[in-house]
């Protein structure tokens, strides 16, 4: 929303510099995002053309005499639009102007044009930097005082305001004037609107009926006969231009002008074209068609509100007028509408038809229906002044939605309770009164009635904000919460997430955060073969792009994409992890959102250095990270054969915690790696944090430190190559005295028969109750070997 400081000054005395006023408005809720200063013109003054003579040497040029009041100048001029008596902007030699062709600033130099000296210039809007118009010389309003510097006459500061959605009243110059008056302690002066009326009453010439009072609480109209359609006077055009609105004709311009001034959208119908001389405000028929002012045919639905005459819709209420009732003739009568509409309905209609407009925006925010009448009277007055004609007697005012505003109760105590500072009654009442609130002070309370334009105020807290922002938020002290601390019961998963992240970075993994939305195509790449993603992940109804259509059910695609992108510039090892939610659809409910850790690694195990190159990472690096992490968290896990389709079928294990699946470790399937355009093996691990949470060290009892010495035995076994470490370990671990089992060598080759391999273990025997003897350990070891032999066919390597 723009506001011209000059315009503002018509309603309120601005006693502060523009920047300070902008600061006050900003602090009080209407943020001034910028101030655009127009003008800054030097050596340019208002002049009047007193004579126009032909140029002696050129047909298309003329010699124009310009009177500046105290002096006269003759300039050579080529523009066709000048007449004697016109007021123009006269630039002295040395004035700074905009070059109409290059757009650059230049200083006017003395010049001889076709042999005649020109000591100055009449300027176009383009040369003044006001608009792009360079077709003609800019004509100033007749009332422009001769000789006055143009900067004083036309210069202005335009505030660019960000109006919050609750303040439709501030989408107007008068609205901002009210704020300015209250914030700077100045009075507001809005002139009485008066105009002459004809003898015939409007009621005898047109009738209005509201069929949908729920969508149209009020409909006001005036009838002006005998108007003459013409361009608006320059001052009005100028004002609209400075607001970025293109002048069209005096009637349209006036409705726009009053909308900017009062905040009330208006619409003018060609009275002659209204059939039956009747306005009906009704819901559209389903499929009803109307051609709007922009010449687009629009099909309406039955929840949209239209303004209709006896036969057809003539406007989409509050959104856009119809072409069939547009003011067309050069002379004629117009019916001027000012109404109140239901904001939700306007929003819905505007959205469905994709029609943004200034009017729609104001209605959507809920301007008060009370505004209709004063704005209508103002527009009628201006039309009579600028387009001629005479208003029919009286106005139409159908107001089914009139509501009495009830006073709101406010006490000093309520203000203090919310703001934490005691303002006295005078200041509270003073602040509210300055904003136009009516305050009735009784012994115990103030009964406050908001002014009609404040449709946003309904509760005591609303009034308290008014008090606070008018007196200034800087009057509120800063205090620290003094209440007793609430009971603290942190969510354990938060702590777990922190520990997991810290551990992973310690293992050399870089954390990444990627978008939760992905595509079915990327998810399909994770599944070699079918590529069919089941269950179908959660889809967006209005995705931004095809690439962000589905909520990811796992973190893999983003990490693989990240790996591929980084590989373009990283030759070393890449280790990435993300800890985030995945989204698992549930019927008729919000999805499950488990927190998942996913890590990937590829490339050399260690940074390349002068100390030597290193081998590429392998499955056991991934597994080592998971084991290290779980160990650090104090979680006991088992590892079982995995069956993840996206991983190498024989290089994966699932992580099992307390009997349930908690994640997976593996080499990413070569076809998946290829699908993501990666050309090296990639290893991956995934852990569901929820599955870990109940089993972290925090949840376990402490194990006493062994009091008795341990005894360590190394054994080397020969087994068939199909026998896994896990099976050996499980058997050894089943003996309570075998406290620890570590594998320290795996070997196949010379000295080991074909189809066999050698596994070397270090077993630590320990008893919590006594010091072990050699015989005891020998006995257990024998039993272990017997079971390994009978169950796995293992023999001791000799």
């Amino acid at each position: 929303m723009k506001v011209s400081l000059k315009w503002l000054q018509e309603y309120v005395d601005v006693v502060l510099p523009a920047a300070d006023l902008a600061g006050r408005l900003t602090m009080a809720g209407s943020e001034v995002k910028g101030i655009q200063v127009t003008g800054g013109w030097e050596n340019i003054v208002v002049g009047q053309i007193t004579a126009i003579n032909p140029h002696p040497n050129a047909d298309r040029l003329r010699l124009t005499t310009i009177d500046l009041g105290s002096e006269q100048h003759t300039v050579v001029c080529g523009a066709p639009n000048l007449n004697c008596g016109d007021k123009v902007a006269f630039a002295y030699i040395n004035a700074q102007l905009t070059d109409p062709h290059s757009g650059k600033l230049f200083r006017l130099k003395p010049a001889k044009i076709r042999g005649v000296a020109s000591d100055g210039m009449a300027c176009s809007e383009r040369e003044l930097g006001i608009s792009d118009n360079h077709e003609e010389i800019m004509i100033l309003p007749d009332e422009a005082p001769l000789g006055m510097p143009l900067a004083d006459y036309l210069g202005d500061s335009i505030f660019d305001l960000d109006i919050t959605p609750n303040r439709p009243d501030c989408l107007s110059v008068i609205g901002i004037a009210r704020e300015t008056a209250a914030l700077t302690g100045q009075g507001l002066h809005i002139a009485e609107v008066e105009y002459e009326e004809a003898e015939v009453s409007i009621d005898r010439q047109v009738s209005v009926e509201i069929d949908a009072p729920d969508l149209c609480p009020r409909y006001c109209a005036s009838l002006i006969e005998g108007i003459r359609l013409a361009p608006s006077p320059p001052w009005l055009q100028q004002r609209l231009i400075s607001y970025g609105i293109r002048p069209i004709n005096n009637i349209v311009d006036i409705t726009n002008y009053v909308m900017l001034e009062y905040g009330q959208p208006l619409h003018a119908f060609d009275y002659e074209r209204l059939r039956g001389k009747k306005i009906i405000v009704r819901r559209a028929d389903a499929g009803e068609v109307i051609v709007t002012l922009d010449d687009v045919e629009r099909t309406l639905s039955s929840d949209m509100l239209v303004i209709a005459d006896e036969e057809r819709a003539v406007a989409i209420a509050g959104v856009m007028g119809g072409a069939n009732s547009e003011v067309a003739g050069v002379t004629g009568s117009i019916l001027l509408e000012a109404a109140g509409f239901n904001p939700a309905s306007i929003h819905h209609t505007g959205d469905a038809l994709r029609l943004p407009s200034e009017a729609r925006m104001r209605f959507e925010r809920g301007i008060s229906p009370e505004l209709a009448l004063p704005a209508l009277r103002r527009a009628t007055q201006l039309i009579i002044q600028l387009a001629g004609g005479k208003a029919a007697q009286g106005l139409i005012d159908v107001y089914p939605g009139k509501r009495e505003r009830l006073p709101i109760r406010l006490t000093i105590g309520m203000v203090e309770r919310l703001l934490g500072v005691a303002f006295n009654l005078d200041r509270i009442v003073g602040a509210l009164t300055s904003l136009g609130f009516d305050c009735e002070v009784t012994a115990s309370e103030v009964r406050v009635t908001p002014p009609y334009w404040r449709s946003d105020i309904s509760l005591a807290v609303d009034l308290i904000e008014e008090v606070a922002r008018t007196l200034g938020y800087d009057k509120i002290p800063a205090a620290m919460l003094s209440q007793p601390l609430p009971r603290h019961s942190p969510e354990p998963v938060l702590d777990l997430k922190r520990r997991v992240r810290q551990s992973l970075t310690g293992y050399g993994f870089q954390e990444v955060i990627t978008y939760s939305l992905t595509s079915l195509e990327k998810l399909g790449k994770l599944l070699p073969g079918t590529g069919e993603v089941r269950p179908v992940p959660l889809r967006m109804a209005n995705p931004m792009t095809a690439d962000q259509e589905y909520l990811r059910p796992n973190l893999r695609p983003s990490l693989l994409v990240a790996l591929e992108a980084n590989r373009r510039h990283e030759s070393g090892g890449i280790k990435l992890f993300e800890l985030g939610k995945v989204y698992l659809p549930r019927p008729n409910d919000l999805p499950g959102e488990p927190e998942v850790l996913c890590g990937i690694l590829s490339g050399p195990r260690q940074e390349r250095s002068w100390l030597g190159d290193s081998e590429p990472v392998d499955f056991f690096d991934a597994r080592g990270v998971v084991e290290g992490l779980l160990d650090r968290l104090g979680i006991d896990a088992d590892f079982k054969e995995g069956s993840d389709k996206g991983l190498h079928p024989r290089r994966q294990v699932s992580i099992v915690i307390a009997g349930s699946n908690a994640g997976i470790i593996g080499e990413v399937h070569s076809r998946v790696v290829e699908a993501f355009e990666i050309s090296e093996p990639v290893y991956l691990f995934e852990i569901d944090l929820a599955a870990c949470l109940p089993f972290t060290a925090n949840c376990k009892a402490f194990q006493p430190v062994p009091r008795f010495p341990a005894m360590v035995r190394d054994i080397a076994l020969v087994v068939s190559s199909g026998v896994t470490h896990q099976r050996v370990r499980d058997i050894v671990k089943s003996f309570p005295l075998a406290a620890r089992v570590e594998i320290f060598d795996v070997y196949a080759g010379e000295q080991v028969p074909e189809g066999k391999k050698s596994l070397a273990y270090r077993i630590t025997f320990q008893s919590p109750t006594h010091t072990l003897t050699d015989e005891e350990v020998n006995g257990v070891q024998r039993q272990i070997l017997d079971r390994l032999s009978s169950e796995l066919g293992a023999s001791l390597r000799s």
Partner: protein, 344 residues
């Protein structure tokens, strides 16, 4: 003879001083302390001297022998140390060390942790809520009904899910304030909570917009909580996060779920309040929205606004590391580029 000893001492010590290797030292030992050395010879010749002289020369000669032996040992130690240090100097200490794995937390994680820690120290509890949310918690419960203009400012990504009544009630939360709505619902005051997390908007990506970003909301509910407490709490947060000297301001703003509403800004770090491109010439950088929780929002959650009062606030996170490190493109945060992430 005494004079001879004196000369011997002088020569021996002088020579010892210039010795630079163990071999030379051994030669020196043979020469001055060996069986055939001058000193040994001299001692052997003592017997031939008269008693008086024998005593005097003998004492002196033995003293000299002990002294030379001592000096030799010292020299030997010195040479050993020299050799050792020579070996150590063979290390080119300018070579880099053996690399250890280094990973880093994402700058957003670091920022969120830091913010949560500050609020936890003020008695707030960290709470998380769902990212896929019902319209009710994201909008309705927060005083933003169906056609409210505030919805336009939060372009929403809707989940393709139709309820039985034909409505589409599931969305990606547009702010973490939805968690505030959940916390208020059914909780018994006192409450102090902060709610960090991801939020989503239907917005095309550019240097300052991404469709997914991070926020943290906060809420305090108790008897007697005032706007002064809100100011104190947020100013304290700003002091700790942005530093002692940064100016902070509260101005009036509008959010449907608070009344009065507040926007908090900090003095621009680049221009120090003078006005520059970063702050759009205002000298201030908006950091968060806040206010006294709207009575309607409390009432919907089952909290009586006549008994309890409450403040709430909400803050975008991504902007904070961007301001702190001068990052000029928000997309870098979500790009997973190691060349970027390794800097934090």
């Amino acid at each position: 003879m005494l004079q001879q000893l004196e000369e011997l001492k002088l020569n021996a010590l002088q020579e010892l001083g210039s010795i630079g290797s163990p071999g030379e030292l051994e030669d020196w030992r043979v020469r001055y302390l060996g069986k055939k050395s001058e000193l040994s010879m001299l001692l052997r010749r003592l017997a031939a001297l008269p008693l008086e002289e024998r005593k005097a020369v003998g004492t002196l000669a033995n003293e000299l022998k002990a002294h030379l032996e001592d000096s030799r040992r010292q020299k030997e130690l010195a040479l050993q140390e020299l050799a050792a240090s020579a070996r150590e100097e063979a290390l080119d200490i300018t070579l880099p060390g053996r690399p250890v794995p280094t990973g880093r937390l994402h700058p957003l994680t670091q920022t969120l942790d830091e913010i949560c820690d500050i609020f936890v120290s003020m008695g707030f509890q960290v709470v998380e809520g769902p990212e896929v949310e019902w319209d009710y918690y994201n909008f309705e419960a927060l005083n933003i009904p169906g056609e409210h203009p505030a919805r336009d400012n939060m372009a929403t990504l809707w989940v393709d899910f139709e309820a039985e009544n034909g409505e589409r009630p599931m969305l990606l939360r547009t702010h973490t304030t939805s968690v505030t709505a959940r916390i208020i619902e059914g909780a018994t005051p006192p409450i102090r909570a902060v709610e960090p997390g991801k939020v989503y908007r239907y917005e095309a990506s550019d240097a300052t917009h991404v469709p997914m970003f991070h926020q943290i909301d906060g809420i305090a509910v108790d008897k007697g909580i005032t706007m002064a407490d809100l100011k104190g709490t947020l100013y304290e947060f700003a002091r700790r996060f942005f530093g002692e000297d940064r100016k902070v301001r509260f101005r009036c703003d509008y959010f449907p779920f608070v009344e009065p509403g507040v926007e908090m800004a900090i003095e621009c770090s680049v221009c120090g309040g003078e006005g520059c491109r970063l702050c759009g010439g205002s000298g201030w950088i908006e950091i968060l929205g806040a206010g006294m929780t709207h009575p309607e929002v409390l009432r919907r959650g089952g909290i009586d606004p006549e008994v309890y009062s409450s403040f709430a606030f909400g803050m975008g996170i991504d902007r904070l590391p961007m301001l702190r490190y001068g990052i000029d493109d928000i997309r870098l945060l979500y790009g997973s580029d190691l060349r970027f992430l390794r800097q934090f």
